[in-house]
Amino acid sequence: MAIAVIRVSLVAVGLVWVLAAQTVLAGDAQRYVKPGSQAAHSAACVEETNFMRRNHMELIKHQRDSTVHHGIRSTKHSLAGCVNCHVSVSPEGQALAINGRDQFCGACHAFSAVDVNCFGCHANVPRGGLLSPAALAAHGDATAGARPSPGQFMSDTPGPATGRAGGQ
């Protein structure tokens, strides 16, 4: 009888420990979303959180092919979107590299010992915008009719410069 009581109490203690460990792990996972990032203010990621934890790499990999080969840029599974939303900012206002060991991507990948190769090529902070300032300026001009019409193009009349510098 005494053995049975000890056995049951051991199981109970074990269960309590398992519960505690899970709570701590869940707390850790919570902290991977950095306070101050846009994501910290969002109720959910682009998909359900647990789904994202297991499958984000599949979504990104699928997206990369449709973007590079088919030019599709409108979907919500873009890496630029991940970085934009999850990047945290230093007290000095500098965006912190998202693959840093204490940052959103870096912390989890360090914990799970999986190399993250995305940022060999991709920007690890939002940098430069989806369109360049020049593109935005020119786009504004385009609506005002600054783009040369076929008649204007390559004709000598309208332009301030007259083509080649060296005389012929």
Binding site: I72, G120, H122, A135, H139, M154, A161, R164
Partner: protein, 274 residues
């Protein structure tokens, strides 16, 4: 829009102002009016910025209904002008490249990535000099795609020849195959890429006709815009398959050539005046 609805919560409304003769409903209305105005003032610029920043991202696959190309009038290309080169560098983050400390200037000149370069041609018989910008010619039958062992070098449906850096192994076979010396190899780790132009060590890259602008619905390239802004108007970007486009009309009316037309590559970049 939770924060817009928040003022409607009665608990957040201001208490009736005793100095007003009007009833509590009036003061609450005034408060709601001010709150709505303030919210709109805060939220509206954000929406404008959003609309500006994102453009019109493509939702459907690119199709072969378009074929993008450039027409360069070398008669209007000014000797010594680098506006297109600088614009290309800024658009694609190439101006962020830095020489390695242990590198000589000569080595750096041969190793840095260049998507667009100015070329000066001289006819040895007549002495006539022509200037032209040289970049990926976006061939219909690109030799770089033929030789790529991994399929990383590919032609998009709309005629843009690109490198899929996810599959590029950096063998540089395409650089050997390209008759236009249009491709560059990234030799060193890159840490300050732009979001719109991912680029990194070990991959080959070249002009992609400002593909992010294409996919955001803009109608020109950085080089063409820069040339137009200076008034030179030597570079025209457009759809070669649209008979009404400016580039098609210009091609129809003025003599133009492909560089190395003997190779029968049907380039998307055409030159006039050479």
């Amino acid at each position: 829009m939770k924060h817009q609805e928040a003022p409607l919560d009665p608990s957040l409304g201001s208490p009736p102002d005793p100095t007003l003769n009007a009833g509590p409903d009036q003061s609450r209305r005034a408060f709601l009016g001010i709150a709505a105005g303030a919210t709109a003032a805060v939220v509206a610029p954000a929406f404008v910025l959003q609309a500006q920043a994102v453009g019109n991202p493509r939702a459907e696959r690119v199709s072969d209904a378009h074929r993008w190309g450039l027409l360069v009038d070398t008669n209007r290309c000014v000797d010594g002008c680098r506006a297109c080169v600088d614009a290309c560098d800024q658009e694609n983050g190439l101006d962020l490249q830095r020489k390695q400390p242990d590198q000589s200037e000569a080595e750096w000149d041969t190793q840095k990535a260049v998507w667009l370069r100015k070329v000066k041609l001289q006819d040895n018989l007549t002495g006539r000099v022509s200037n032209l910008p040289m970049m990926c010619q976006h061939c219909e039958h690109p030799p770089c795609v033929d030789v790529c062992p991994t399929g990383a070098s590919f032609k998009r449906a709309d005629g843009i020849v690109m490198v899929d850096r996810h599959t590029c192994i950096g063998c540089r076979y395409c650089m050997m195959a390209c008759p236009y010396k249009a491709r560059s190899f990234i030799h060193e780790v890159v840490e300050d890429q732009l979001t719109r132009v991912p680029r990194g060590k070990g991959c080959v890259e070249s002009c992609n006709l400002c593909v992010s602008r294409r996919d955001q619905g803009l109608d020109s390239t950085a080089c063409a815009d820069a040339c137009t802004a200076l008034g030179h108007r030597a570079i025209l970007f457009g759809d070669l398959k649209d008979p009404a486009s400016a580039i098609s009309q210009a091609l129809r009316t003025m003599p133009s050539r492909q560089i190395r037309e003997d190779l029968d590559l049907n380039t998307g970049v055409r030159y006039a005046g050479v």
